[in-house]
Symmetry: C2
Amino acid sequence: MAEASRTSEARRDAVFGRWVVFSPARSRRPTDLKSHNPTGNPSPGPGAGAPKPSCPFCAGRESECAPQIFRVPPDDALPWRIRVIENLYPALRRDIEPPPEPEVVDGEAEAEEQPGELAVRGFGFHDVVIETPRHDVRLWDLGAEGVRDVLLAYAARVRQLREHPAVKYVQVFKNHGASAGASMAHSHSQMLGTPFVPPSVTSRLNCMKEVFDRSGNCSLCEISSKDTLISETPNFSAIVPFAASYPFEIWIIPQQHLSYFHEIDEDKALDLGSLLKTMLQKLSKQLNDPPFNFMIHSAPFRLSSSCLPYTHWFLQIVPQLSVIGGFELGSGCYINPVFPEDAAKILRELDCS
Amino acid sequence: MAEASRTSEARRDAVFGRWVVFSPARSRRPTDLKSHNPTGNPSPGPGAGAPKPSCPFCAGRESECAPQIFRVPPDDALPWRIRVIENLYPALRRDIEPPPEPEVVDGEAEAEEQPGELAVRGFGFHDVVIETPRHDVRLWDLGAEGVRDVLLAYAARVRQLREHPAVKYVQVFKNHGASAGASMAHSHSQMLGTPFVPPSVTSRLNCMKEVFDRSGNCSLCEISSKDTLISETPNFSAIVPFAASYPFEIWIIPQQHLSYFHEIDEDKALDLGSLLKTMLQKLSKQLNDPPFNFMIHSAPFRLSSSCLPYTHWFLQIVPQLSVIGGFELGSGCYINPVFPEDAAKILRELDCS
Ligand SMILES: Nc1ncnc2c1ncn2[C@@H]1O[C@H](COP(=O)(O)OP(=O)(O)O[C@H]2O[C@H](CO)[C@@H](O)[C@H](O)[C@H]2O)[C@@H](O)[C@H]1O
Ligand SMILES: Nc1ncnc2c1ncn2[C@@H]1O[C@H](COP(=O)(O)OP(=O)(O)O[C@H]2O[C@H](CO)[C@@H](O)[C@H](O)[C@H]2O)[C@@H](O)[C@H]1O
């Protein structure tokens, strides 16, 4: 169906339970306000991305960074390709006492589960993954092996954080471009280990549980990707989700039902690395290097085994092409001017091999 | 407690059940990316805000707008002060058939309540409220009576939309400034009447119900505003919420327990109008005319009477001072560099009378 012939439609997804309004007509509205620079940051490539003497993430400036956690390769005699370091301006702090474990009263719900206002010490881990020693290289400029190694570094660090009994969840994410929130141009990602299960994780699990309880199926195993498939590898599918909140949003989903990202092995990480590289290349070429975020949605640690049948990790890529307004902030419902079927078609057509 | 002496803290609120990480240290991180123009749009005032010949919201250009729904004053012989019109590029459309009412099976949960993927026709109402005929006047430049009349226009339109059996909720909101999503500079707000209850409304109701079930109290009646009160009128309190997601976020809460905004009367609307005007003036003066959104959080229509004890409407004002990144998008948890107590103090101190 061509874009012109489509009319508005509201869709609810089976993973977050979110409503999205698809409205191609919206993209034709005029504006008399200067909107964001869609690219957001100095466009990379010759010149703009050249090594920057003041960048603490560049090779040779390691002493200006917060402490290193590990590097790839581990051997200090070799130059590093990836560094996992502490965030110098952490949102949560590893050096304070974790909040006390909630007491279990009479085998009843944990105290923590009580609703209402709550304040806990800002304990947690906030790390940065420097994806390359070079200022002018973007994640998708690395070979598939290079992207694999970044993914394996995420996984290795998540496994370390899992060992801490007070860490309930680790959010792995990447900001690229100023409009996607990035404050540093040098290619990097971040992760935050939190002493609570974040709200979107709870609502995702609740929604997937409801679907599972009714249908016996995992929402993500069931995704009908026919119309919205962009590309497949032996282990992963890249799709535009049925109820994408954002134009050209992409999900990369393991075909096997797996709850935890951090259990990924080298082969699958290579497979994912090559697919992620291709998707980021497609976005960059097709949408003129847009600012974007990606997030890995995994399961909280120490989940009871009864939850495993409906938890399935995936990676979400969100190009930042429009600005969130009061409707989205107030209602939690998004307006997307691009139908997933149309976005998938456009992303499918571009050949990045 | 001075900002410098504060360390990170995580807080969960009792209305949305959201976690927020407060981290003053974050505001000191450097950036090598050009970030948004905080003001977002051409700053109003002499020059920039002058009448604009091409603006369809200005007096004299009514014919370039989508159809009018009503105006204030109603008498066409008098010049209008407020116009409520259809949105020319609506996200949801009033001219298509509403989705069929879900059947009630054996008195069981409505079919609609079933989880999983769902698509419905994009029926709904999308209106614009032009708050003034003048291009160079902002909402808070109007007198308290002028703001009252805008609020009464919202309420009157919401009451009209409530009459439609397929409209489940109306989200009233305002975008000011490009970084807050506004595409039109002329002072206006919008409302969307949706054929479903939006996700944030559902989670707000669920959270407030949980608190009520445990404590017997309404989360908003219970708000301890001691530390974070900015200002009070006979009927409303303006506070920075205990777990504000955004720096300098403000909530204006009716002191009486009331579920529905649209039942507001003239006296209370005047009271609210004067408080809203003061808060917007404070934000504009104290934070250098930031882009902002405000949203009215009311109850869904035709709520069963058992829900009324824990539903309490309020108005949320969110200045857009920072950019959302991958952590917030992925986890639903926000990082706020400004503690509510500090924001309230700053907002309290400025005298706008
Ligand atoms: N010398 C050094 N050593 C170690 N670390 C250093 C460092 N210099 C800077 N850093 C850290 O490097 C990180 C770079 O991160 P990003 O550019 O992805 O976005 P940032 O976290 O600033 O904020 C974006 O992402 C967060 C989380 O989504 C949002 O809250 C925020 O609004 C958005 O702008 C910063 O967190 C900074 O603290
Ligand atoms: N001649 C005319 N007659 C009638 N109506 C006219 C008109 N010309 C323009 N309009 C309408 O006026 C509205 C102006 O609204 P705003 O400036 O508040 O933001 P907009 O809705 O564009 O998008 C922002 O808010 C929405 C909702 O939050 C977000 O989805 C989006 O990303 C963000 O940019 C537009 O919706 C437009 O369709």
